[in-house]
Point group: C2
Chain length 387, copies 2
């Protein structure tokens, strides 16, 4: 740290230089984040100093948070949800599992059963919360095998987790069946809809995944993904207050007497941002966002089929996994030659593309052209010789 | 959630109405947060879409984070710290304790010894990490009794925690002695300097509390408190990489292969914000901020002594705890009659005031005037009759 401060011009120039090394989302097909909506950015700025960790000082922002929870509840078929705005899916999932664990303090060696397609945050959760995370088998269509879920339940099981929009393949577990299993076994059921929560409700004939199913006790949904809010904006919703109360810790020297959140200081800017973009778009606006992403997803599917590349499964959401030889090599070549950012999946092996709202028809077509080039290069001896 | 979206004018008006219910920091003497520096706000805006949870896409922001860690290391006497920017003190403390716990997996029933003045986040940590948090006795001057720390160590102890700037009284534990105890007992020592980290280095003749002490293995320091950055900006620094590695989880489908952070998606805006304000202020700038806060703290002390109110201890930092009869009543009256926000402490009972950079001489004088009025009212029978 320097002795003396720099002027803003020098700092701005350093920031812009850094910014130029960040990749613009236009060429990013690997991320579940995107540009926040301008309305979200503006609301974020207005509430930049608001701290929801001590919301007694910020009752206005707190009212906005209650509005957001009501709107999210409406989206997820719950007219009176309990919950709060988190930093994102990982915190929401940690807290939901922590509530499950805390509901059964008599169990010394607790476990939860999660879909084998669960996000890696469940490995974090296992470590953080000291809980056994049992991963249930995945069927060929990449949804959880509910028979296996049932067989994994034992006397130490404290809850179930289903995925509504898996990170790798965008697949949705049979939540209706999980809901029945949860009820039959008197277990809470958490749904990780961090990505799918702002998308599935806007798909025609989507399978039920939310509080409309009686066994679902909590849901993670991320406004900073398909909700177009600013980072960090996650949300955790509980059906019953008593589940949320299991997270309570006393808070001396604040204007409030207890906290159910994971963090202490908490962004009020994110609350305002989420409020603003949800009010601004309304259901119709999100419908248009989803329509656009799904239209481009279908274009991507058609175009890749035209060059002889097939998807691992028929996509449910705006996530496409393409079956290719040597996906890691393809990823590297796409990045180094053309600047495209894609990711790879492990099982089954594929390249994975998330078609976010920042994508355009032009870029989808350009991407498929470049993908074709890379595949042809790899098939020719020229590149093989270099290996 | 409405069917159709609202226009920005209506949303802005709702936001401004909410904002009018938030309390302006000018009358807040209870918070460790304040207005972020304008330079921080501007940098935050420029990087609003940056996600450090997948920093392979944001290598420019990642470089800014490395710069911030270097600057923080320089402030805390470590030329090569390991760590990352967190959401705040609670996450930093969770992660530091998690690393301690994970370093000793063979211990079935681990415990840590924390100062009895530790922040309530350590109660959260006990619950989240399933670790026993043993609170060591506090001496009359409100620092930890190191004899008691020593006596609490047993074969299941995995680490120690010292407080450099307690939330309630702004007191600093004898970290030098804790450092010796840590070395003698081969235990890691985490320092919670979430509040004190940006203040103590700028106090004349402050006691050593940072990596200059050989036993200190990690430090929590919050740029969003006295660092004048935006929320959420915390930081966790480790002396050794191997401690940080204990937090590692594999991350498929990202541009990076593992994460040591608690959250997944992570604000790059906060990184840029912290970078900008630290570069802009430099050591000299923070010195001025601290000088101002300490000058106002001394003014507050002098003025309260003039009206016959004494502090619980001579303040070390910009936190003043005033010995008064019925602190809760005084808090309520100050808020309802005059709009002042103060908090109360439990043991010893007092009203607690944090003199943040948003405070002014004028407001300190106005506050003491109003405090005098409230105390006189309570002493008179008029208010006593109403009870």
């Amino acid at each position: 740290m320097q002795e003396y401060g720099q002027n803003w011009e020098d700092i701005e120039s350093a920031l812009q230089q850094a910014k130029s090394k960040d990749i613009s989302y236009e060429k990013v097909l690997s991320s579940m984040c995107t540009y926040p909506h301008p309305v979200a950015v503006e609301a974020h700025r207005i509430f930049i100093e608001s701290n929801m960790g001590d919301y007694g000082l910020f009752m206005g922002t707190y009212e906005l948070e209650k509005s957001v929870l009501t709107m999210l509840g409406d989206l997820l078929h719950n007219s009176h949800p309990y919950g709060y705005l988190t930093t994102g899916g990982t915190e929401s999932n940690i807290q939901a599992v922590r509530a499950m664990r805390n509901a059964c303090t008599s169990i010394k060696d607790p476990n939860i059963i999660v879909s084998g397609s669960a996000h890696f945050s469940f490995d974090k959760i296992a470590d953080i919360l000291k809980i056994n995370v049992r991963k249930a088998r995945i069927l060929p269509d990449l949804v959880v095998d509910t028979e296996d879920v049932l067989s994994l339940i034992d006397k130490n099981t404290v809850g179930l987790v289903g995925i509504a929009g898996s990170t790798e393949f965008g697949q949705v577990d049979p939540i209706s069946e999980l809901s029945k299993i949860a009820i039959d076994n008197d277990l809470p059921l958490h749904i990780d809809a961090a990505f799918g929560g702002f998308l599935l409700p806007f798909l025609p004939n989507h399978v039920p995944f939310d509080f409309s199913l009686p066994g679902v006790t909590s849901i993670a949904i991320d406004p900073h993904k398909m909700g177009l809010s600013t980072i960090p904006s996650g949300a955790l919703l509980f059906r019953e207050e008593k589940m949320m109360e299991l997270l309570k810790v006393d808070t001396p020297y604040l204007t409030i007497s207890s906290q159910c959140t994971l963090t202490g200081t908490r962004s009020g800017a994110s609350v305002a941002s989420t409020y603003a973009v949800m009010k601004h778009l309304g259901k119709e606006g999100y419908q248009q966002v989803v329509n656009k992403c799904m239209k481009l997803t279908n274009l991507l599917l058609d175009e890749t089929k035209n060059i002889g590349v097939k998807p691992v499964i028929d996509p449910v959401m705006n996530i496409v996994a393409l079956s290719v030889e040597e996906p890691k090599k393809i990823r590297t070549e796409l990045a180094t030659q053309f600047g495209w950012q894609v990711s790879v999946t492990k099982q089954p092996s594929s390249i994975r593309l998330v078609v976010m709202p920042h994508m355009t028809e032009e870029n989808i077509l350009a991407f498929v052209r470049d993908l074709k080039t890379v595949i042809q290069q790899l098939q020719s001896s020229e590149i093989n010789m270099q290996e």
